[in-house]
């Protein structure tokens, strides 16, 4: 309940993983170009999307995020040759795992975003936040928050 007495609107928390070279620069670009996107995201920067162990994603959910967005360079553009191929492989397995677990698949998304695609970054974030808002809080949120 808020001070005003109304029911508190659900504000989703989204963890976004960005690689240093493309998607983080994309996020930067969105900021520099003053594009608006919802403030619900927490960006975690890693050197390459290949560094994102699926465990990071699981841990995010276990610690209470409502959605996770994994981003990296476009296929072929990874600065470490094949990092994003690994990401793709892992994502495939991870999303199957999430499906089997019974978590809505809209809570987890993978997008390739280049350094110049500030607009794409802003749009993807908007979409994810909207979708997760519709779904409501994640059923995996910790017992005590």
């Amino acid at each position: 309940m808020q001070a005003g007495g109304g029911v508190k609107e659900f504000v989703p928390k989204i963890v976004v993983f960005c690689c240093n070279w493309c998607s983080y620069a994309g996020a930067d670009m969105a900021g520099v170009s003053r594009m608006q996107y919802p403030p619900n995201i927490r960006i975690i920067k890693v050197m390459c999307s290949g560094r994102i162990d699926p465990i990071f994603v699981l841990m995010s959910f276990m610690e209470g995020t409502d959605g996770v967005l994994v981003t990296g360079c476009h296929i072929g553009d990874c600065h470490y040759i094949n990092g994003n191929y690994k990401t793709q492989n892992r994502f495939e397995i991870l999303s199957e795992m999430m499906n089997e677990l019974g978590l809505e698949k809209e809570r987890l998304r993978l997008e390739w975003i280049s350094a110049t695609e500030g607009e794409k970054f802003a749009n993807v974030v908007k979409e994810v936040v909207e979708q997760v808002k519709k779904l409501g809080p994640s059923p995996l949120k910790p017992v005590i928050e």
């Binding site: 465990i55 841990m59 276990m62 492989n89 397995i93 991870l94 795992m97 677990l101 019974g102």
Partner: protein
């Protein structure tokens, strides 16, 4: 006789004692002993009988010890894959799940397959030793400690004590909630085609003490030929009828396994997505974090310091322990459904069934069955060459 790969034979131990002791002609023990004796391999990994409910994985270089271990132990549940040390040439009798475990370990560079000789055993299932003891007491009305030996023949489990023998149909035991482990009931890989020699009694004509042997690889041929040349084993080609019967039994067992699969998975299968999440949260709520499931898992290559055990902090607030989540994740592509985790879980979580639900999705989607061959790498591995066109 000329032994060829891809061909089927009936074979038996020449030594009468081994023939009697072995569950079907003693071929496997004789061939293993011969391989040691003539230096085809340097070690043999066998299950040494402690009592009918307990076998101890033993690595030996003594052919006599191998022969002493002749005979199956149906009421033990061990996966030998974890005990294969392939620094030297080693042979082992391998049930399908042992062999699949070895192959999955080889994919993870834990085992050098060139050094491993697998003599495959047809398998229709094993029993959980603790449940089996209970079964002996309640269904057979016998003292478990008095059971001297056991045998499965024509669908019956025969127990021998000093006072005689008693046999009950396995179907009947399973109706009463005993019998094989659940993982075995729905396992549909009964003939170990991924090994070097596939052996068993399916297809052996009635009344004959012999083993049906299919030679699958060059290594298998080497072991077989060595055993014949060394005088440990005699053989004759299997008749077309034998081959046909074996195939039929295999198909029937597969069908039965699929029926069990449907029956045992029904409680999860019928749930909706959100109900399933609840089911998993509740199922894992009992986990004590003992780590036993990881310790026994033949495809988990980690030692004691693994990610799953290191992220245990704060687990009391998590809906599902990170430990369980990570195990689910890491086995997505590789669980072979051996049932060991379920066997040892003190909380009684149906772990194998749960792992299979996760694994089967990926297996279907990517048309991949773990532990069958070395052709496909685990999914988490991306090969560099595929990217550098």
């Amino acid at each position: 006789m000329n032994i060829g790969t891809g061909k089927c034979y009936l074979a038996w131990a020449t030594d009468e004692k081994t023939r009697e002791k072995g569950s079907s002609g003693g071929f496997v023990s004789a061939a293993l002993a011969a391989a040691l004796d003539k230096g085809v391999v340097e070690r043999v990994l066998v299950l040494k009988k402690h009592d009918v409910f307990k076998g101890i994985p033993t690595v030996t270089s003594d052919p006599k010890e191998v022969l002493d271990c002749a005979g199956a132990l149906h009421m033990t549940a061990i996966n030998l894959a974890k005990y294969v040390d392939s620094d030297v040439r080693i042979a082992l009798p391998a049930k399908p799940c042992d062999a699949r475990g070895v192959i999955e370990r080889a994919k993870r560079n834990q085992v050098n397959l060139d050094n491993v000789y697998m003599i495959g055993l047809n398998c229709a299932g094993t029993m959980h030793p603790v449940k089996a003891r209970k079964m002996v007491k309640e269904v057979y009305n016998l003292d478990p400690n008095a059971v001297l030996s056991e045998e499965i023949s024509k669908g019956k489990l025969i127990l021998k004590t000093s006072e005689g023998e008693k046999s009950i149909k396995i179907d009947e035991l399973e109706r009463q909630g005993y019998g094989r482990r659940d993982a075995c009931k729905y396992c549909d890989i009964n003939v170990p085609k991924m090994t070097d020699l596939a052996c068993g009694n399916w297809g052996v004509p009635r009344g004959r003490k012999a083993t049906f042997v299919e030679v699958l690889t060059e290594k298998g041929r080497e072991i077989f030929k060595n055993a014949v040349d060394a005088g440990y084993v005699e053989c004759e080609p299997a008749s077309d009828k034998s081959i046909e019967i074996r195939e039929k039994i295999d198909q029937a067992m597969k069908k039965l396994a699929h029926e069990w699969h449907e029956k045992l998975f029904e409680p999860i299968n019928k749930l909706s997505d959100s109900e399933r999440l609840e089911y998993y949260i509740n199922a894992f709520a009992g986990c004590t974090g003992c780590g036993a499931c990881k310790k026994v898992c033949p495809v988990c290559p980690c030692g004691d310091d693994a990610k799953c055990t290191m992220t245990e902090f704060q687990s009391e607030v998590h809906r599902i322990r990170m430990f369980n989540m990570i195990r689910l994740l890491h086995l997505m592509d590789s669980c072979i459904g051996c049932g060991r985790c379920e066997d040892v879980c003190p909380a009684g979580i149906p772990l194998t069934m749960i792992h299979m639900r996760f694994t089967e999705r990926v297996q279907k989607k990517l048309d991949y069955v773990p532990g069958i061959d070395m052709k496909k790498p685990p999914f988490f591995e991306t090969e560099l060459k595929e990217v550098q066109k």
